[in-house]
Amino acid sequence: MNPNEKRYILSRFSDYYSDADFRIKNIERREFGVGNSKKIDSRHLAFGSVSEFRGYLISNTPFFVSHSASYYNFPAATPIEKKQRIGADLIFDLDIHADGKYAVYSRLDEAKQDVIRLVEEFLLGDFGLSKSDILIVFSGNRGYHVHVTDSEYLLLEGDERREIVNYIRGEGLRYEDFFEWVEKLYGPRPDEGGYRGRIARSIIADPTRLAPRIFADESKRKMFIEGIKEGDWSRSSMKLSDIPKKVANIAKSLPVLSINADAAVTHDMSKLIRVPNSIHGETALVARIVEDVDKFDPLDDALLDKKRQLLVVFNEDVPSLEIAESTFGPYKKGEKKELPESVALFYILKESASMIPA
């Protein structure tokens, strides 16, 4: 990226920020950080209101902007102990890892499906949270952030947050322990909470995964399912002692494994998280607040500006990609192309293309 490109890109970011939709809860209690060469070059910033924050972004436009999960009495104070934490949102980071620069963008739906499971099964289901306390945000690159703002969760400490991540990732789960022999094989019922109910519902939905041939027969399938509803897993001709192990194998898909357990976003409350509806400076995609997760398509809904066009030249080969219901590429090194501006900025920031001055 040369200085001209940089200037151009930041001016487009600045335009976006002039009427971006910010909904930062308790903005005056958050610490902010901005970055240009890195994701965060300087932190300990604080803003009294959205308009003050907006003003800053318009005149000092950064490539990245993030805010603390924590709420502080003195968000700008240093060192961190002097900020006096009041509480912190519970934040989950889900992302996709793939080899190569572009492979991840055709797999973003996997992360979305995990977000849906995280929210439906765990946050709304097991944890009994209400929708209004959950904010789903596209990260602007390879996944999603889920913010939980429920007041009862604000006070959790790092270890307690880590325990939640362990639970959602199913760490230490032993499905075999869900079963018990008392003349019959007893196990979890579909109406139970947590992993017990989840595994029972999953088996009921398709018992053929346990024994394809036996449960091809509808009456056998029904009898088995009726049993499970009462916690009795014995009503089949399967070798019953095989059931717990087979169930454990099927259950591997129940935890949400794309939740990042290492990145410390969840348990380290001094970390900053991308501001929802700000721009990700490696992609020019908006870290968009997701209203309807089922319909959300990041490579369409998170695009910056769909109207303008920009002329670029590719400086490396780029595979084809579905963006906003059209196919872009593959492009060859040296190829010149006029692209929608948001798509052009994406390739420039990925360092695959350069602007051709008009």
Binding site: F127, G128, L129, D159, R162, E163, R196
Partner: protein, 312 residues
């Protein structure tokens, strides 16, 4: 019943107790009461749980005041070792009181600490965030092993008492800062410090090297005199045995723990060595909830091997 002095003297952190204290005031802290407060802290250092027997209400009031004065002393000293010791000892004492109480009293104390439970079809449940805040992080309390439903976790009566104990410990460990206590209390605090055996971080030479992040974090906690769960102590002990530390060194290191008991620690370390318990694999450490990074080493002992390879 709950408002009375017997209740307050057992549960001196409750609002009922505070109410009584407010009417007495710190000015009532005579030399005798200050001496009782100092003794109460010394008892905590020695892990001695002393349940007083009172001849009359006057003695109960004195005991209650002594608790308040002890907290003022700790708030003035800001010594995390002393405060943690005191918090653990007081919470254990309260636990032993709770074990003899009826449900009503247990519930009153629990509610006071924000641990309110509900009855769902004959099963006691608490809200999930409350469960997380007031249970120790040990396999027994892992969420994956729990019945969870719509934001509530099932618990037993005993587990509820354990949660109260933990809540009391946390409450007392967060002693507010006291800047300018009365002169008498300052003097008592100084005297207490002078009487103490030098409390310092016991260092063990071999521990200065490089350890996997999970171990490094535990070592750091112990050095700061923080309480760590039993499973973490077990893990540390077998790890130390694994890297070749002597029993003496291990026991000496554990003496930094706020509830250290030399006899028990030595017995357990010797037992672990005799039984040749293996250092748990990373998968098991994840199960303990102690894993801190994806090091890709499969067993914590491999950290050393890898560290050496990197150097070469």
């Amino acid at each position: 019943m709950v408002g009375d002095l017997n209740f307050a003297v057992r549960y001196p952190f409750t609002s009922a107790a505070k109410e009584l204290l407010r009417s007495e005031g710190l000015e009532a802290a005579t030399d005798e009461i200050i001496e009782m407060a100092v003794q109460r802290i010394i008892d905590a250092i020695n892990g001695k749980i002393r349940k007083s027997i009172y001849a009359n209400d006057e003695e109960k009031k004195k005991d209650l005041l002594a608790y308040a004065v002890a907290r003022v002393i700790l708030g003035y000293l800001r010594n995390s070792y002393l405060t943690n010791k005191f918090a653990i000892n007081e919470s254990k004492k309260i636990r032993s009181f709770l074990d003899d109480e009826n449900d009503e009293v247990v519930n009153t104390v629990a509610n006071e600490l924000g641990i309110s439970s509900l009855d769902r079809n004959g099963q006691m449940v608490v809200k999930l965030p409350i469960f997380l805040r007031f249970t120790p992080r040990s396999p027994h309390y892992q969420l994956t092993n729990r019945k969870i439903r719509e934001g509530f976790v099932a618990i037993t009566k005993n587990e509820k008492k354990r949660m109260v104990e933990e809540a009391v410990r946390k409450h007392i460990a967060k002693t507010p800062l006291v800047k300018d206590p009365p002169e008498k209390i300052v003097l008592a605090a100084k005297r207490l410090l002078a009487e103490l055996p030098k409390v310092e971080v016991k260092r063990v030479a071999q521990l200065e090297g490089s350890h996997p992040p999970c171990i490094a974090e535990l070592i750091d906690s112990v050095k700061r005199h923080q309480n760590i769960p039993h499973i973490a102590r077990f893990y540390l002990a077998v790890y130390f045995i694994g890297i070749g530390l002597s029993d003496d060194d291990i026991v000496s290191f554990f003496s930094n723990l706020p509830d250290f008991n030399e006899k028990i620690t030595r017995y357990q370390v010797e037992h672990a060595r005799k039984k040749r318990y293996a250092v748990p694999s990373c998968a098991t450490v994840i199960g303990y909830g102690l894993c801190r990074a994806n090091c890709g080493i499969s067993n914590p002992l491999n950290w050393h091997k890898r560290a050496k390879e990197v150097v070469l």
